[in-house]
Each structure stands twice: as structure tokens, then as C-alpha cells.
Amino acid sequence: MSTPTVYRATRASRIAMIVAAFALIVLAAAPWWAGRADLRLMGEIFLYLSLACLWNLMAGYAGLVSVGQQAFVGFGGYMLFALTIFGGLHPITAILLAGLLAAVLSVPIASLIFRLKGAYFAIGTWVMAEVFRLTFAQISALGGGSGTSLPVGIVRSLASSRSGREALSYWLALGSAVLVIAAVYLFLRSRRGLALTAIRDSEVAASGLGIDIWRTKLEVYVVTSAFTAIIGGLIFLQKLRISPDAAFSVNDWTAFVIFIVVIGGIGTLEGPIIGTLLFFLLRETLADFGTIYLMVLGAVAIVVMLKAPKGVWGLIRDRYDLELFPLSYRIKLNDPKDI
């Protein structure tokens, strides 16, 4: 009599992990082999990858489709400036503290906008982001509507040489991307992740099984907000200049992120990674066309949503039964010969 075994990791996922580990070593050494412009581009890629993974966790798993994540990107950026300029904190301490403050702030915000359902929730998050933008534009100590720059002394406190600062900022971006992906992966593999996946598949059934939907969604919202603020701090640490329009830009921090996730494959961990690569590939080849490029991006997102709603990764997964991050359970019926 054979007993079926349940397993998660597959050969493909083990190979993927080994390849990823090697890639990580190569990428971590980038300051020694990459040029200045490439380093900057790769840093930006990792920050977008982090934002995409976070948005994917909210929209793809918790069903919280937000078009207002720029609220927390901008908040993190502004907190970096405020806490270093007025609080005298080290930039990295300031960024971590910004994450904590964002988590605290996101609870009352959630209690308001969670009253809106579905698409109305989306626009509600946008209103919140506008409230943030208009409020920070009123703070004259931070430059009001025209914004402010990070003082040279604070920039120097990171590292004395310019190449040292660029390397540090790159490692922070790489580290945050690895941390976010690992955190989302481990979260989804945990008991709570299972609850979240159940909510994604059917809210009614999940609540019938005793899952507290409101609370699970709140947890996701709070954690995502905190991480998004940290990424926002890192983004503006790279830019060294902040203004309300740049910090709370719906195009830069939400539209692009949504395109990345939709094109790559929403509701999968691999999707945002593929999407980020495709997005930057498109951007680097079409960026000269400006507005046309954005129209192409919008059209691609619409076509993907209509024709292949699971995105590029969804197509690959359905075709080859591939899963690089082993999240689902597989059953193996033991072969009688083995007994």
C-alpha cells in the first residue's frame, strides 16, 4: 500500500534558487565591474522591483487594488529629508524610522478607506495620496511646492567619496529588493500566507473557513505601506532632491508599477521580476519616443489584461507547469516499484 507524499519544491525551483544565488553574488559585486550609469540604472531597477513585489502582494493576493501607493513612496522620501535635516538622524536610520511611521499612519488610513469597496477603494487611495501631496506642499520648511535638496553634509555622512556613496546606494537598492522578495515569499509560505491565498481565490469560502478577512487585509496593507515608505526613502536618497510633484507622482510610482505587475503576471511571485525586466527593456529601447512610449505601455497593459490576464509568467507557467518560487503544494503518488 503506497502513501502519497506532499511536496512543494520541484527540480526547476531548486535549480532556480541555485541560479538566483549565483546571480546575487555577481550582482553584489557590480560596483567593481559595472560603470557608473549602469550601476545607477540597476539600482533603479531593484527599487522598482521592490515596489512591484509590494503592489503585487496587495493587489494580486489581498485584492487591495491601490492606485495611491505614491502616498507612501513620497511619505518615505519626505521623512528621509525631514528626519535628517531637522532630526539630525543618519539617513539609513531615518529611512527605517520612516517605514515605522508609515506603518503607524497606515492604520487610521486603512480604517477609513477600507470602507470603500473594489474600484472605489482604488480611487480612495488616490485621494489619500493627493491629501499627502497637498499637505507636504504646504510645509514651507521642506520647500513647500517647489521642494528641497538634501544638504551636502548629510549626503557626505553616508560615505566620503562619490563612488563609495554610489556603491552604498546600489547595495541598499539590491538589498531591499532581496529583502522584499524574501519577505513576501516567506509570508506567502506561512500560515497567514495560506489564509491570504484563500482570500484571493474566494473571499466567501475563506471567511467560511474562519479567516478574519478584514484583519488579514489590514496586516498586508500596514506591512506594504511600511516597506513602500522605506523604498521611497531609498529612491529619494538616490535622487537627493524632492518635491511634492515628484514624490507623489501617480505615473512614476503607481502607473509604471501596475504595468510591471500586469505585464509580468499578477498574483505570482515571478511576475513582478519578469515584468520589471520587460519594463526596463522597453524603456531603454523606446524612451526616446517619450509620450508614444507611454501610449505603447498603456496599450500593452490593456492587451495583456484582455488576452492573457495572468501575464507573461502566467503563460509560461500554464505551458510548462513551472514554478520558480515553490508556493503551491504538489502530490506525488508513490511508484509501486519503490516499495
Binding site: A59, G63, V65, V67, L112, I113, R115, L116, G118, A119, Y120, A122, I123, G124, W126, V127, E130, V131, L134, T135, A137, Q138, V250, N251, A255, I258, F259, V262, I266, T291, I292, L294, M295, L297, G298, A299, A301, I302, M305, L306, P309
Partner: protein, 288 residues
Amino acid sequence: MIEWTGVILQGVLLGGLYALFAAGLSLIFGVMRLVNIAHGDLIILAAYLGLSTTMMFGVHPFAAALLVLPVMAGIGYVLQRGILNQTLGPDILPPLLVTFGLSVIIQNALLEGYSADPQKLSAGAIETASVSVGSLTVGLLPLLTFGVAVAVIASLQWMFYSTALGRGFRAVSDNQDIAQLMGLNKAHVFGLAMALALAVTGIAGILLGIRTSFDPSIGGGRLIFGFEAVIIGGLGNLWGTLAGGVILGVAQTIGAKIDPGWQVLAGHIAFLVVLAVRPNGLFPRVQH
């Protein structure tokens, strides 16, 4: 005192414009549970169509509306049947993301076609004309806008409850499948609803263009004002939407009176207060 009465009156009249932004949004949500993220950009598109029409034929913006409205309605019908109908279903993601993509496309197409320079529709003497009410002076254009808003909402209300088309709208709204079994083609009914919504959007776009200058980037802001009016008034109640627009307009003019930088913020705060106190809006639809 008289000063504040003037401020509030201006807010009420501004609310008429916001109700026009909101009416189309409210209509399509009521009929097919679709929230159109591109709604604000469609308002701006209508304003630019009005601009092109006035320039091309040298006509008054109100005359341009005779062309813009049918064109917007046509765009609405084609958009609904060509793209949006495919997104409708139990999952809220497709309509949301598809209209979001549309919003980006419209915005950048306008940027490509008309550049980022602010434009304005010139309506001649009516822009500065005013009438005196007691000791108050009221601009004729805001008054006219408010009148149009009331007329539009009254006609939508009448159309919804007293015509065969409205019966079709209500039928697919209540139960799509049974409406289909009763011989209504829901794809066509949805197309008509979107056509009607975008015709209203056309009116809103032209009145917006006469009132203030506009550029391709301001669509998102108009969507938010319309959305706030809908939520403040209560989902699915057209007269409530007008009241919501008025409350939003008054909050904004009071905010602007205190500090010009506070105009929009005051409107958002009024919205959040309503959301905190009455999550279903002030005048939610009575369940029949």
C-alpha cells in the same frame, strides 16, 4: 457676513460643475458596476475636442457642443462594445486596470497632439457677465453651469424611471442574465449607457474648458472630484450626487477663502469626514 454668503454661493455653483463630472461616473456604475479610471481624462478629451471644433469652424463653444456631444457618445459606444464589455465580470481587476491603461493612453495622446501648454475655450462676453441678486453679484457662467447640471440630472432621472431605455438600464443593473433572457442585448445596453455617460462628460468638458484653463495632465484631479461627489452624495442616487458636488464645491471655496493653497485639500478633508461619519454617503439610495 455678506462676504461669506458670497463664498458659499460660489461654492454651490461650483458644485454644479462637479456634479456634471460625477453624473457620468454615477450612471455607468449604476448600470454596470464599472468604475472608469479614465473618466477624468475623457472630460479633458472633450474639452480639447471643443477647442479643436471652435478653432476649426470659428464657432462659439456652446455651438461646438453640438458636435462634441455626439462624438463623445460615439466614442463611448465603441469603447464599451470594443473593449470595456470584455472586462466586465466578477473580478474587479480587469476593468480597473484596463481603464487605467486607457487613462494613460488618452493623457499622452493629448500631450502628443496638443502639447502641455494650458488651453482655454473662449466664450466671449458670457465669461465675465454677472447678475445681481440683492447685494450679491453672481457670475452668469457659474449660474448657467449649475442650471445645466440640474437639467442634466433631472433628465437622467426622468430617462432612468420613465423611458424604455431607462427600464433597460435598470433591468441589466438588477440582473444581467435575466435581462438578457427577456430579450435585452446587454452588450448594446451597456454601450448605450456609456454613450450617454460620455455625452454628459462632453457637456462637463466644455463647461470646464470655458471656466478654467486646462492641460492634458489634469484629468486625474477631475476624476477625483467627481468620485468624491458620488461618494459624499451616496452611491446610486443622482440627486445625491448633485448634493455631493455642492458640498464639495462649498468646502473648496471656504478652504480657498481661508488660504488659497487649501482649496483642494479642504474638499478632500470634507470627503474624508463624510467617509468617516457616514460611510454610505449622506443620501444613500433607498432600497426598493
